[in-house]
Each structure stands twice: as C-alpha cells, then as structure tokens.
C-alpha cells in the first residue's frame, strides 16, 4: 500500500520536475494557456460572487445591523430605482485596488469565524472605529467611490436645490487635499446611521 503510493508520488514528481520529457511542447504551451484562461475565469467568477449585496448580507452581523440602516436611505430605494449596493461604495472598482481590499478582507473573515463582532452590543461598541476607517479611506481617495456614480463634471447644478447647487459648485471642485472638501466631509451618514459624533468634525 505504502509502496504503491510512493511509486505514484515519485512518478508525479518526475513529471513535475521535467515535464518536457513527458509532454509535447504544444500540449504544454496551449494546455497551459487554456488552463490559465479557465483559472482566470474561475477566479474572477468567485471574486464577483463574493462581491455582491447577497454575499455581504449573508452574515447576520451585516444583515441585521448595517443593511437594516441602509433600507431607509436614498441609496436603497429612490425615485429612479438606481441604487447602490455594498461593493459600489465599499470596494474599489479598479482591479488592483479591489484585489488589495480583498486581501485586507481576510481580517474580516477571521472576525467572522472568531466572532469579533457577533452581537449588537459589540457592533455598537466598534461602530465609531469602523466608521472612522471608512471615512479615512474615502477622504484619502477623494471620495472616489462616490464619484464613480456622482460625477462632478456632469452635475447639473440648476437641477439641484439652490443651496445644494451653491455648495457643490463651491466645494466639490476643490479636491480632497488640505482645506479642500470631498463628498464624505459633509455626507457622512448618507447610507448608514451615524455613530456617536461627539468631537468629530463635520462639514
């Protein structure tokens, strides 16, 4: 039994070390290419499957806390029915940034497995910290996820209410740097409820 396994293992190892002595060039190159295509497709399919509202809200922590809060906001249900789901705001759209965020998400997988934020009480305790992460992320990238849909260059200020048009025209073009304002500076809490905001500058 062990001898048969060892025989099989040594055979496989030989093929792995020197494949060109066992397989043709055509098989190795074309087969490798096709296998690569299949792998890439499978990889991205799984990535997108883990990137949707259904997946994100499959955890009770998300479903009962932040998703419930989203339901009363304009990003969930509005006049036109054009809505934002979890990845639209929380996952970068650009592929490299998305992969980076997905690698960071392994921490969230750990948290799910070990129950870091299992109960409502734990969630409320950590809300401010979690919110701060997101505000910092959006401030750093000049609210890129907001601008993916709400493109400043194509905003029609005449169709906004007077004060909204005035404020957007004045502040949105200033960039997100020092002294400039970006979407998240004023629109904190646009999708989920705000945590205790004592001491946090707004606007």
């Amino acid at each position: 039994m062990i001898r048969r396994i060892r025989l099989w293992a040594t055979q496989w190892w030989r093929i792995l070390r020197r494949p060109s002595t066992h397989f043709s060039l055509g098989f190795l190159t074309l087969g490798g290419f096709i296998a690569g295509v299949v792998f890439w497709g499978a990889f991205n399919t799984v990535l997108e499957a883990a990137n949707g509202e259904a997946f994100c809200t499959s955890c009770h922590e998300m479903h009962d806390n932040v998703y419930e809060e989203l339901k009363s906001t304009i990003h969930y249900s509005n006049r036109s029915g054009v809505r934002a789901t979890c990845p639209d705001c929380h996952v970068p759209h650009n592929w490299t940034n998305k992969i980076a965020r997905k690698m960071q998400a392994s921490k969230e997988v750990w948290g799910k497995i070990f129950g870091t934020i299992d109960t409502r009480a734990e969630f409320l305790e950590r809300r401010l910290e979690l919110a701060r992460h997101e505000w910092a992320r959006l401030k750093a990238n000049d609210s890129l996820e907001c601008r993916n849909c709400h493109n400043f260059a194509y905003m029609d200020f005449t169709r906004q209410s007077p004060r909204a048009g005035r404020i957007h025209a004045q502040w949105l073009g200033s960039g997100g740097g020092e002294g400039g304002k970006t979407c998240i500076d004023c629109h904190k809490g646009v999708a989920h409820r705000l945590p205790d905001m004592a001491g946090i500058p707004q606007g």
Binding site: T73, S161, R163, C186, P195, D196, G203
Partner: protein, 164 residues
C-alpha cells in the same frame, strides 16, 4: 317532562339575543348627503364609499425664507430634510446651522435663544432643551388646506385691537 323544559329553556336563551342584535334595523336609512361633511379628510366622499388615497404632497425645497406670523415663531424649514439623522448620536441640522459652520454653508445660525438655558443664562453650545430641532421646526408641503382658516398674524391683531 324535565327534558322538554330544558330544551324550551335552551331555545329561549338562543332566540332572545338573536332578536336583540340590531336595534336600528327597522329605522329608515339616512340620506347620503348627510355623510358628506363628516370629516374633511375624506374630501367629500360619502361614508359608504372608500375613496382612493390622495397623492402625497411634495415638500417645498425652494430655500426661500417664509414670513413668520409673530416674532418668535420658529421659522419653517425652507428645504427638504429627507433622511436627516437627528438623535443622540448626530444632529444633521447643526452640520450647517451651527455657529461654527454657518459661514461655510451660508446657513442662518441657530438663534441666540438656542444657547440659553432655562434661566436665560448664555451657554457656549446649543442648549440641550433646543437640541431636537423638529420639535418646533417643520417643513411645508404643497398640500391644499382641507379646512378654511381665519388665522391672522400679530400685526393684524394689534391693528384690530388699536381700532377698538
């Protein structure tokens, strides 16, 4: 004999409530016109009909200040406040209307009365008794008034009092 008495008693206890159920069954039906002015919310539909709901009124979002009817009337809100969070955690109104932010957003600062405690002492921040804006300040919609109003503002009241 006992069995007959029992069944007669049973019959009587069943029939008497059955006859007493509808005291007005023999009264004449009321004319429909009498129902029309029962409640202005029904918008003239008779009580026997179930009218369709009126379309929801839109909030006025013009940012134009409206006239106050007496000097310390809480001004009505000239813009929409949909989704504005106003609880212990956050006060969306104060984001624009706080003293520190009013110049950034060109919004009227909350009046000085909002910084006074109940003894009239001036505080540095908005007093807790004035924190929940919606207790006094409301938006206006374009809903048609259902009932006529003969309200007159304080100037007219003084004028009429002066003429007496």
């Amino acid at each position: 004999m006992n069995r007959i008495l029992f069944s007669v008693l049973l019959l009587v206890t069943v029939l008497i409530p059955a006859r007493a159920q509808d005291p007005n069954a023999d009264a004449p039906a009321r004319p429909e016109s009498e129902y029309r002015s029962l409640d202005a919310l029904r918008r003239g539909a008779p009580l026997t009909a179930e009218p369709a709901a009126a379309p929801m009124a839109r909030v006025e979002n013009t940012d134009l200040r409206r006239q106050r009817n007496w000097p310390d009337q809480p001004p009505t809100i000239p813009h929409s406040i949909d989704g504005y969070q106003l609880d212990r955690n956050a006060n969306r109104c104060l984001l624009c209307h706080a003293r520190a932010n009013a110049s950034t957003f060109q919004a009227p600062m909350v009046s000085v009365t909002h910084f006074m405690d109940r003894d009239g002492q001036m505080l540095a921040q908005v007093s807790a008794r004035r924190y929940f804006c919606n207790q006094c300040h409301v938006v206006q919609t374009d809903a048609k008034p259902l009932v006529a109003s003969d309200f007159i503002d304080v100037d007219h009241v003084l004028q009429i009092a002066g003429e007496r």
